[in-house]
Symmetry: C2
Subunit: 450 residues, 2 copies
């Protein structure tokens, strides 16, 4: 069915494919590297006949366990299906295989004057297929939306091995049910994505990057809505609290001034006159507010430093404590100040370091609860903090996950957000697509014991 | 279950609710006007128990028969659930009931400095619920997308009467499967939408309207891609061929010059400096191309005339022949010239008047095949023309419908676009949501006899 070099069961290989960003490894029985859709189809036929789990995997950079073989079985690593099949400049479309690295796609289409906006922090190693399965976001979402907004068609292999296509190559299509969106964000539980039709945008010709430091966390979280309601539409509006700044300050050649309580990375892109006008408005909004200091990045090196610092947060926080619980709740952006104040209080009440940072512009706040899991008491308090955070996010009109997905790490909390009828309907959809429960079992839905 | 004034079985009422834009009436047995979600739930429980069809209906302005009671039963008219429940300025969200008229919503949010872009030609009478069920588009889609791009959450009553919620109030959410998008565009076959959470945009402060006349149809259809690839992003890029212009010329106080073969309505909106820059580029692109004449609308009256003419196309074409077949195929926009040339040839071959007009910017071309159905030979040629049009649209990488949906009028052609496995999967989803086939039966899927 596949070549000898396409399958491995060697323990050292299996260990490499046992983990993702959740740091909760589960060993698969084997790893297969399909090279085309026909092979994927045949493997699924086999899995369907013998009933073994199949877990599709991109780069394993997910944060909720989507690519982890929770119940063993076969990891289907999509790395060898990594062709950019077509870049159609006239229609601003790309057709790609799932194993293409997101950053590589961005660089390729840029040479055609085009732009693929989604930019997860892992963009230099994560893949489009994984991005689609999890519906990855990124800083640019505040202006440009997330992965689902750029996928207009798919080729998918179902649990049965049947190959289907969804969507179209046109911007508009309303033929039948929107299966494309059902697969995007379904975390490999409904089918294996083997080809994607992506919409692209014209490359914005101009961009300015600003670093805004503030002596007030509260005012910074309030400022986010004020910026957007002042008709300024940044393509980046990333926020870091003081603890987060401390962790990554080494990346910056000129560290933030003493007394800095929060930091905003603001970028504005587009036509030059638009950027100039929006910059003018931003300066106008900040005029006379002494708690803010705006500094414009003067050159590419400074911009690179800022982004290195931002992208280094996730790995760097482990300096503080050996383990972390990494969450990405989202709330309507006007509620961010309440959420952040709640987290500050929670951190004090439970005596745990909690960092907040992330995509303030769309209300998607990353919360890192730092702890040492070898201390049972800390582990227990971490669990309490996580549940309290989810409850509060929902109470504020928010959601469990803005961009990381549910995987297994948030699965027990799904009933916080949806009523029984909604979850039952989702489970029936899962049962319809995958009656033997072989596609990434154990993900999204609460384990039966809860 | 409902008040006496909420149900009618009087023949004169039933006739009023028997038709939509397809002009192929089917009498329902009764019409009910629910006033809240609980009533919708109870009615669906009843329908589920006794197995009668329920057809949800907005304003009946659909073009593919979505609101027609093909197999009798109950029309559920959503007109009395027409509250704008909330406009949340800070988070740029509106929460509405399905019976709200699209144009009323636009005017309401405009008073808050906000913008709901989807603008079907019927916007002054069609409803948000109907727009969501069919995934309506409109001229602004070229820049702003269609209805589905503005719906982030729903409340839906299932066939069983169960009430579920989907999506979130946040811009980003990846919790569970994307049920929102599954319901949007499902034409009332999966559930009854009883509440919608809509995302809004800041109102663009400035807009310019242009009328571009051309002596060459071919050059006009080619120009569409040239405009978009020159980094000009109009919010309207509507095209009319010569036959269409003739039909609506009376609406314009200064008719297009003699020799006009095609017309483009071009609008550019946004911040004033952007509009100025984009206008400059448009003029630069057209400089020295003598086949084009660009005229800027000087005042609101001229703009209103242009739009009256555009929106009058659909009713006015019946001046030419008593009946029409109204289609809305979409192709990748670089293929529009080929599609339009094909239609011209088809029109000659089959000796039928065919008009083309519509949303050139996103490749969504409206084709009106004019005929007299009382002449069996013309009716037969009309059918041939429709099938040939669909085949060609698919061959060019396109889709059966850009924004009208499938309803019953395009249902037989679904296999042109999707393979058996894809259609079977969609039908199994339908069966899962609606096991007794009571929700808008006979829509989307090919009738069994074909």
């Amino acid at each position: 069915m596949v070549g000898a070099d396409q399958l491995t069961t060697r323990p050292e290989d299996l260990h490499c494919y046992s983990y993702d960003g959740t740091a909760a490894p589960h060993l698969p029985a084997a790893v297969v590297f399909p090279e085309n859709v026909e092979q994927v189809g045949k493997i699924m036929q086999l899995a369907s006949r013998y009933g073994f789990p199949v877990v599709p995997r991109g780069a394993g950079s997910g944060m909720t366990g989507g690519a982890v073989a929770l119940r063993g079985g076969l990891i289907m690593a999509m790395a060898r299906m990594s062709k950019i099949i077509e870049v159609d400049e006239a229609n601003q479309i790309a057709i790609v295989e799932p194993g293409v690295v997101t950053g590589d796609l961005q660089r390729t289409v840029r040479r055609h004057g085009l732009f693929y906006p989604p930019d997860p922090a892992s963009l230099n190693y994560c893949t489009i297929g994984g991005n689609a399965a999890e519906c990855a976001g990124g800083p640019s979402a505040v202006k440009y939306g997330v992965t689902k907004d750029y996928i207009i068609g798919l080729e998918v292999v179902l649990a049965s091995g049947d190959i289907i296509t969804t969507g179209a190559r046109t911007e508009k299509s309303v033929t039948g049910y929107d299966l494309t969106r059902l697969f995007v964000g379904s975390e490999g539980t409904l089918g294996i994505i083997t080809k994607l039709v992506l919409r692209l945008l014209p490359l914005p010709p101009y961009k300015e990057t600003f670093l805004l430091t503030s002596t007030s966390l509260k005012r910074t979280t309030e400022l986010v809505s004020e910026i957007l309601n002042a008709h300024i539409k940044p393509c980046t509006l990333e926020y870091l609290d003081r603890s987060t700044i401390n962790v990554v300050a080494d990346f910056l050649s000129s560290p933030p001034p003493a007394g800095t309580e929060a930091l905003l990375i603001v970028e504005i892109d587009g036509e030059q006159p638009v950027v100039a006008e929006q910059t003018r408005r931003l300066r106008e909004l900040l005029a006379g507010q002494s708690e803010f200091t705006l500094r414009q990045a003067g050159n590419d090196k400074e911009i690179e430093e800022i982004w290195q610092a931002r992208r280094a947060i996730s790995p760097s926080v482990l300096k503080l404590r050996p383990n972390k619980i990494s969450e990405d709740v989202a709330v309507p952006r006007s509620r961010i100040p309440e959420l952040v104040a709640f987290i500050e209080q929670l951190s004090r009440d439970l005596d745990l370091i909690m960092l907040t940072f992330g995509h303030a512009g769309d209300g998607n706040i990353h919360v890192n609860i730092m702890l040492d899991r070898s201390d049972p008491d800390q582990a227990e308090r971490g669990k309490q903090a996580k549940a309290a955070l989810f409850r509060q996010a929902i109470a504020l009109g928010g959601t469990l996950s803005g961009e990381h997905g549910i995987g297994f790490s948030k699965a027990p909390y799904l009933p916080y957000e949806f009523n029984d009828a909604t979850i039952a309907l989702m489970q029936r959809i899962k049962g319809l697509f995958d009656p033997k429960n072989i596609l990434n079992p154990g993900k999204i839905f609460p384990p039966p014991e809860i």
